[in-house]
């Protein structure tokens, strides 16, 4: 490869990468940042989520101009409820409000322990929709899942083997008593 060709190739590559980086990327004009993407919750309790809302929509938004939507969750276990809007505020264009209470998620009593997913996003009166945020609720101290009989049998067998394997070496390690008497 000649130097001239290599130089042209490098220039072309740089031009292409610069062009790609200059491609317009359509950003959401309203954004929602939830403070904690994962929260531990005891079954029967309610978790409260707060976060930051940024307004780049071009107009002032009132707190009651903003709506939360939830999707992709186990509706038997989770009940999300919007809190946003219960306290009034105005959000000027190109401003944000931080640590504002957004919503609560009630975890039904009797929910099995585990991790439950939930998707939340923000929309406004002008039809703007934010990107979705994935949340995880780690339900603890809930009802423990009952192991299947096959699992119980496997665990029992493993325990029995473990006990057996421990007994055999211990026999070999028995101290040998000597009845020799030194003369």
């Amino acid at each position: 490869m000649s130097l001239t060709f290599r130089a042209c190739f490098v220039q072309l590559f740089l031009a292409l990468t610069a062009g790609i980086s200059l491609l317009p990327v359509q950003a959401a004009v309203i954004t929602l940042d939830v403070n904690s993407l994962s929260a531990p919750v005891v079954a029967g309790d309610t978790a409260t989520f707060s976060g930051t809302i940024t307004n780049r929509s071009g107009v002032t938004l009132e707190s009651t101009d903003l709506f939360l939507s939830f999707s992709a969750f186990d509706f038997d276990a989770l009940t999300p409820t919007q809190v946003l809007g219960s306290s009034l505020f105005s959000l000027l264009n190109f401003t944000f409000i931080a640590n504002i209470d957004l919503f609560t998620v009630e975890v039904a009593a009797g929910t099995l322990a585990g991790t439950y997913g939930l998707q939340v996003f923000l929309s406004d009166v002008n039809g703007n929709v934010s990107d979705a945020t994935d949340l995880r609720l780690v339900v603890t101290n809930g009802v423990q899942p009952v192991p299947e009989p096959s699992t119980v049998a496997t665990v029992g067998l493993a325990l029995a083997l473990l006990i057996l394997s421990r007994r055999r070496p211990s026999c070999r390690r028995m101290p040998q008593q000597s009845f020799e008497t030194r003369l």
């Binding site: 009651t64 101009d65 709506f67 939360l68 939507s69 939830f70 999707s71 992709a72 969750f73 186990d74 509706f75 989770l78 999300p80 409820t81 919007q82 809007g85 099995l112 585990g114 991790t115 439950y116 997913g117 939930l118 998707q119 996003f121 929309s123 009166v125 039809g127 929709v129 979705a132 994935d134 949340l135 899942p145």
Partner: protein
């Protein structure tokens, strides 16, 4: 248990129609899928408007449809508007499910609505209602004519949309049933001339409308009650509502 949350449809509410008659608050909100994933079998399982008492639907779920990206359906409800102040903002919450029968997930859509000034409905509705009771996969309906005494509006026909296999097992005396056993059931008073004795007069009710289905589950579907004017001997007012019917298979 771990629920995978992405990718998922994005169901959002849009500005709908709100009418405040002074006694009832009519809300009709479009539900749009703003995401890139399809939302199959969308059902609304609950609608609340702050702490206001809901009048209709009395029973959920209500089927919305298959919402492909960019498509929308409409969630409708009526609430009591006594005590509401025009200008007041209330949070309308629509809860529902989507997905196949084996893998259903939940959604919630919120939107603040402003209580508008009291206004009359664009059309005068018949003051009538239907009450449904379900017992062992048999749905019984009773019609109530809530028109004021002296009103010429007499109930003369009832039509119910169904979305499951049904058979008509009860028809009041003086009425006749018609159905295709899958999409609709209609009952019509058979009287042909005044004084139409089988029509339901104001302040009275008529039961005995009955259907049966293999399923024991219910959903709410639309129904229409038609009146006949006894003063002019012509078609009268109409009332549309949602009523419990056998639940569709998904």
């Amino acid at each position: 248990m771990v629920t995978v949350v992405t990718p998922a449809p994005k169901l959002v509410g849009a500005e709908g129609t709100v009418i405040n008659t002074g006694s009832e608050f009519f809300v009709s909100m479009p539900l749009s899928n703003a995401g890139a994933e399809r939302a199959p079998n969308v059902f609304v399982t609950g609608m609340t408007l702050g702490a206001v008492q809901r009048v209709s639907p009395q029973l959920f779920p209500v089927y919305i449809g298959q919402l492909a990206p960019g498509n929308s359906g409409v969630a409708r409800a009526r609430f009591r508007s006594v005590g509401l102040v025009p200008g007041q903002r209330l949070l309308l919450t629509v809860r529902g499910t989507y997905g196949s029968s084996s893998a259903q997930l939940g959604f919630v859509v919120n939107r603040f609505v402003t209580v508008p000034p009291i206004t009359a409905l664009p059309v005068t509705l018949l003051r009538a209602r239907i009450q449904a009771t379900l017992q062992s996969a048999v749905w019984n309906y009773t019609l109530f004519n809530d028109e004021p005494a002296g009103s010429p509006q007499r109930l003369a026909a009832l039509s119910i949309t169904v979305a499951a296999p049904v058979s008509v097992t009860g028809t009041p005396s003086g009425w006749v049933a018609e159905t295709d056993n899958f999409t609709y059931v209609g009952w019509l008073a058979v009287d042909e001339q005044l004084p139409y004795p089988s029509h339901v007069a104001p302040g009275t009710s008529l039961g005995g409308f009955q259907i049966q289905s293999p399923t024991a589950l219910s959903e709410s579907t639309s129904c229409v009650i038609n009146a006949w004017r006894h003063d002019t001997d012509a078609a009268g007012l109409v009332m549309t509502d949602l009523v419990a019917t056998p639940r569709r298979a998904i």
